[in-house]
Symmetry: C2
Subunit: 377 residues, 2 copies
DNA sequence: CCATTTGTTAGTTATATTAACTAACTGAAG
DNA sequence: CTTCAGTTAGTTAATATAACTAACAAATGG
């Protein structure tokens, strides 16, 4: 069963490719490849695409991966908008939509929206539910993927819900749930700026500050699934804290915190557009206070990064959420700060997938559970 | 070949155990277990130990792992003293010795000492070199295990040496090299306070500050083998830094830094005994300045831990080096600080193996490369 | 028609399985 | 005390699986 995966992996990597070449790439014998390929052709996972070219000898029969043999759905709910997509086995989106839901949103509402969304997407792409493998759903708040529950979600008020089993029962399909930032991390790893990078950290700044961690090509979640809660890091000056309150980094350098700081120095701060963008604009216009605040923010974000880099020595750090608005100039500024503090500065890149990241990650959260169909290792 | 490992693993875990029970534990069939066990008995890896007891039915033939079928050597050189040990396949030390080397110490000197040490240990334990699998060597400074080289070692002045191949050529045995703190981490994981814990961080404070990281039961080294270089973390007040100089945490809260701080407030600081021990002593005697300095140190160590915990959410944090001198009271004080900043405080324990940790870790660095003999997964 | 490459067929090997057996032992009925 | 049913341990034999090698047929260019 493992060699099937191996063959699929090579097939996807080098497609279109012949059986003989597959044998060379996988180190398996030609008969073995032939047999397994035939099996998978029967199952519809592989197609013969035509005859290839060669200078001498019999011409090869080229094979191709049939990514639409099965489908998955990926969804991301950010507490407000529900993104949904249908994707093939390569994680390529066939079609997608987004829908703003009106509060208050119960679990029941969400399930219904997912159900209806799935129907619409299937119809749109002219596919049937029989081909569906499962649905991945990214949710805001604290989730526990292992037991499929949501511990707490501030935006919806949900607490301790067995979301996965509830959804599976209603949707009639395997469901994978995870935290929204984790899904986005996965998205960038498989389809975005982090493709193929073994050790990477996805840093997200929004209402909160969090990180998704991929080590040795695997998502790292920690012992209590609390890894990446870098909002708790001690960055900048120590401040008095009241009992049970946490998150000094988050409290000072998340989006709301920066808004508060900006309001003190700028006359008109618009709540609708990115603070960082506004600060960058004013700084470029010559506003010294804005430039200073921006530098303070960059610097403290960099401090957080220094802590992560020195501990984990990753290849890549992906900046997302509010951070995507700093532009290439901002990236260079931060890179400059990093070089002051650590000798090994990793690649620093802006997230590439925008609002689709989480939805795409959700697609892959399902595909990851079917390596024998996708050829993922 | 993988089932052999599985059987050995179960055998070591449940020994003494019969073939029938092994089949149950490993989910393999009884004939398969019988065949593989017979093989391994032929090779001397397993022994029949005698007849077991049972209420009904035929009595089982109990099997035991023969840990002395092969041997490994573990060594740790801390820049000053060379610790050497001979160990069996369980990592149990058969005999060990330590020897102070006199500076300057060349690679040649070290090889010679290792060679002579090995001879002495073999003689002492009445074993032969034929049973040796390899030698693990922990070295101070920056090592690259992957290519077996040492990049820089301040205490000996070595730079860019292909230590592994040099040693292998001379000693005639496979050699595994690694950084001293990494070896200690491994030691505590396999034989010390961290046995069986999936996610743990070994924090070492000495001349420098460093950490060994074990995630999912595997050592994590980072992309450039620089993971755990937490001396670079930004802990406490930001300080001006000159170009190419790194390590704010290390500069302020490593052993030498604490000595410097202590000298300012205490009349007689002894360079020979632990600063922390001296500070604890004076604090207990009622010296307020000492108590304050101690608290400052504990607090800043805790800040560093907060950063690691929030990022990695480990089960366990092991305190070693200078930190072992804080005692249970110190541990509680730090735990108190941690609880102020993060909701998920992991176990916090003092390292258990003392100066033997590195040597034992070195033993396991070799054993890890022979899972088919040790049953390690 | 020969050299060369692709793909298949046939037979082999390695490693597991299941089913059925022998071995060894307990305990209770006769 | 003997005997035999019931139980557990370990082995043997036949079978299944999944790979391999060797040999060959198909296809093609020179």
């Amino acid at each position: 069963m493992l060699n099937r995966q191996e063959i699929l992996h090579a097939l996807r990597k080098y497609a279109p490719i012949s059986r003989a070449d597959l044998a060379k790439k996988t180190q398996l014998s030609r008969p073995c490849v032939s047999a397994l390929v035939d099996e998978m052709i029967q199952e519809g996972l592989i197609h013969e695409i035509g005859i290839g070219d060669s200078t001498v000898g019999r011409k090869p029969i080229l094979l191709e991966y049939n990514a639409t043999a099965y489908l998955v759905m990926g969804a991301l709910f950010d507490g407000n908008v529900l993104h949904m997509a249908l994707a093939d086995l390569k994680g390529e989106l066939l079609c997608h939509e987004k829908k703003k839901l009106v509060s208050p949103i119960s679990g029941e509402t969400l399930i219904q929206e997912l159900e209806e969304g799935l129907s619409r997407l299937l119809e749109q792409s002219q596919m049937t539910k029989e081909k569906m493998l499962g649905i991945g759903i990214g949710l805001p708040g604290i989730t526990r993927k292992r037991d499929g529950t949501i511990s707490y979600s501030p935006s919806t008020g949900w607490m301790d819900l067995p979301v996965q089993t509830d959804f599976e029962a209603r949707l009639g399909l395997p469901v994978v749930i995870d935290n929204d930032v984790n899904m986005m991390t996965l998205g960038e790893y498989y389809k975005g700026i982090g493709i193929g990078v073994a050790n990477q950290i996805y840093m997200y700044v929004g209402t909160g500050i969090g990180a998704g961690i991929i080590l040795h090509h695997q998502f790292y979640r920690g012992s209590r699934e609390a890894a990446g809660e870098i909002g708790y890091m001690i960055v900048g000056a120590i401040q008095p804290i009241s009992k049970g309150e946490y998150g000094i980094f988050e409290r000072n350098y998340s989006t709301p915190a920066i808004y508060a700081k900006a309001r003190k120095i700028l006359p008109h701060v618009c709540e609708e557009t990115s603070v960082i963008r506004q600060l960058v604009h004013h700084a470029e216009q010559g506003n010294v206070q804005a430039r200073h605040l921006l530098d303070e923010v960059y610097q403290h974000w960099a401090y957080g990064m220094v802590n992560m880099i020195s501990l984990l020595d990753p290849d890549l750090l992906i900046l997302s959420g509010e951070m995507v608005n700093i532009g290439e100039k901002g990236v260079q500024r931060i890179q400059h700060f990093l070089a002051e503090w650590v000798p090994m500065v990793p690649d620093l890149k802006l997230a590439a997938l925008g609002e689709q990241a989480g939805m795409i990650g959700a697609v892959f959260s399902v595909l990851e559970t079917f390596p024998m169909l996708t050829g993922q290792k």
